[in-house]
């Protein structure tokens, strides 16, 4: 197989890799914020529950969670989440990343001084206005570097989808490598991931710069 055919075949999988990546971010970034707020709930049952969930999601391998979401329902109830494996894959990724993002959000929220809340309260802002207009923008600025780290990891983690044979770029590359007994597909995959992350770094760098006007 020529190198260009190899690249072409793997490029088809790259679309699926991007699907995992973008869908995961689209779901886990807002979900993480919601989980962070629930984790901070004054209700001990709610905050305890989410602390437990987060510890499970962070304390067990993502690979195991992928297998559990994809095949677990079949073994337990005799049906699969979906015939399209993208759905269980994205569910597993989104939940796992939401747990990590939740802890990042929580750290960011707790780093904002009480004075910001008090100033807003005396000025008469509602709790919602305070969070959305005053707290969250400052949190986002502070946590952006940590978020970038997680996103870079996510790019590489998409390759874990091979464990459930979802035909994304790395899975295809691995199959080509096996059938052609060639190491070349792994080199191609490496280049793909590297370029992908270079783009992530560039975009996130821009985002961080856009918030440089204050500290």
């Amino acid at each position: 197989m020529s190198l260009s055919t190899m690249i072409l075949k793997m490029s088809v999988g790259l679309g699926r890799t991007c699907s995992i990546f973008f869908l995961t971010l689209l779901i886990s970034l807002p979900l993480g914020l919601v989980v962070a707020l629930l984790r901070r709930s004054k209700n001990k049952v709610i905050s305890g529950f989410f602390r437990f969930i987060i510890s499970i999601l962070r304390g067990t391998p993502l690979m195991l969670q992928l297998l559990a979401v994809t095949y677990g329902p079949y073994y337990l109830f005799g049906f699969s989440v979906s015939r399209n494996k993208l759905i269980p894959v994205v569910i597993a990724f989104a939940i796992n990343y939401a747990a990590y993002f939740a802890e990042i959000y929580r750290g960011g929220i707790e780093s904002i001084s009480n004075g910001q809340y008090e100033a807003a309260e005396v000025l008469g802002y509602s709790k919602f206005q305070t969070f959305i207009g005053i707290i969250l923008p400052q949190v986002v600025k502070r946590i952006l570097p940590s978020i970038t780290n997680e996103i870079v990891t996510l790019v590489k983690d998409t390759s874990l989808a091979f464990t459930v044979s979802y035909q994304e770029m790395f899975t295809i590359g691995k199959q080509i490598a096996n059938s052609q007994t060639s190491f070349m597909p792994f080199v191609v995959a490496g280049v793909f991931y590297y370029v992908f992350n270079a783009i992530v770094d560039f975009v996130m760098g821009k985002a961080e710069k856009s918030m440089d006007y204050y500290n």
Binding site: S113, G115, A119, E121, V122, Q138, M211, N215
Partner: protein, 252 residues
């Protein structure tokens, strides 16, 4: 009467910080509160501004009861919605300024009048620019708080509070976080407001300032008002031994 606080007590757990204090503020009055650290000055202001809930007593603003103690001893506050209207009667200037760092100076002033009071943008902008002019900060309208000195930040904080058109302005040690050479510009602004008959309650350690601008000085210690009166009485003809001791630490 703008503010009436009747028989206010405040406990933090077993610690009794405010002990049955009654305290009124009339329109146009400038009241200074002095006293040693830990005597409950900040807590009293925080109770007046609803940042702390009282343990017992009654708070009225402009003859509206905002909080009262029922015969069972339970403290009742107005609902958050009704309280929002009352919060429009006062402003608070913090020791640490607490400006919103991600907003420009002008936006710090305009945001609450627009979002909380739902006033018109053109009118608010004109008023806020006028306030900045008064503070000598019109050139900084588009700067961010981190680009300003402490004294400038505190003046912005005062302007932000004034932009809400409060009936009374509370200050909690407005110059304590400033380098000595910057306290003057902030005190000057407060003095100017006093001349315009702005109603103010100022917790301060600046004794000569308190003596010069106040209509009334309150000396607090151990959660009670030990002595109060015209500044010339409190400073010049001190009645209580505790006050005298405290003041002697400040005489140069």
């Amino acid at each position: 009467m703008i503010l009436e606080m009747n028989n206010i007590s405040k406990n933090f757990g077993d610690l009794s910080v405010i002990k049955d204090i009654s305290f009124n503020v009339d329109r146009g009055e400038v009241v200074s509160i002095i006293g040693p650290s830990g005597s409950g000055k900040s807590t009293l202001l925080r109770c007046a501004t609803f940042l702390e809930t009282i343990s017992s007593g009654e708070i009225r603003y402009m003859d509206t009861v905002a909080a009262y103690t029922d015969p069972n001893g339970t403290v009742n506050y107005l609902t958050p919605n009704d309280l929002r209207k009352i919060k429009g009667y006062f402003g608070l200037v913090f020791q640490q300024f607490n400006l919103f760092p991600h907003y420009s100076v002008l936006r710090n002033l305009m945001d609450a009048p627009l979002k909380v009071q739902k006033r018109h943008k053109d009118e608010v902008e004109a008023e806020c620019m006028e306030l900045l002019r008064k503070m000598g900060l019109e050139a900084k309208a588009n700067a961010y708080p981190c680009q300003l000195s402490g004294g400038q930040q505190q003046r912005v904080a005062i302007a932000r509070a004034l932009a809400m058109k409060p009936e009374v302005l509370f200050f909690d040690e407005p110059t304590s976080a400033l380098d000595p050479e910057l306290t003057g510009e902030v005190l000057k602004v407060i003095k100017q407001l006093a001349e315009e008959k702005m109603t103010m309650v100022v917790v301060t350690h600046e004794m000569s300032f308190a003596r010069a601008v106040s209509d009334r000085v309150i000396f607090m210690d151990g959660g009670v008002i030990v002595e109060q009166g015209h500044p010339e009485e409190v400073f010049g003809n001190t009645m209580e031994e505790r006050t005298r001791q405290f003041l002697s630490n400040y005489s140069r």
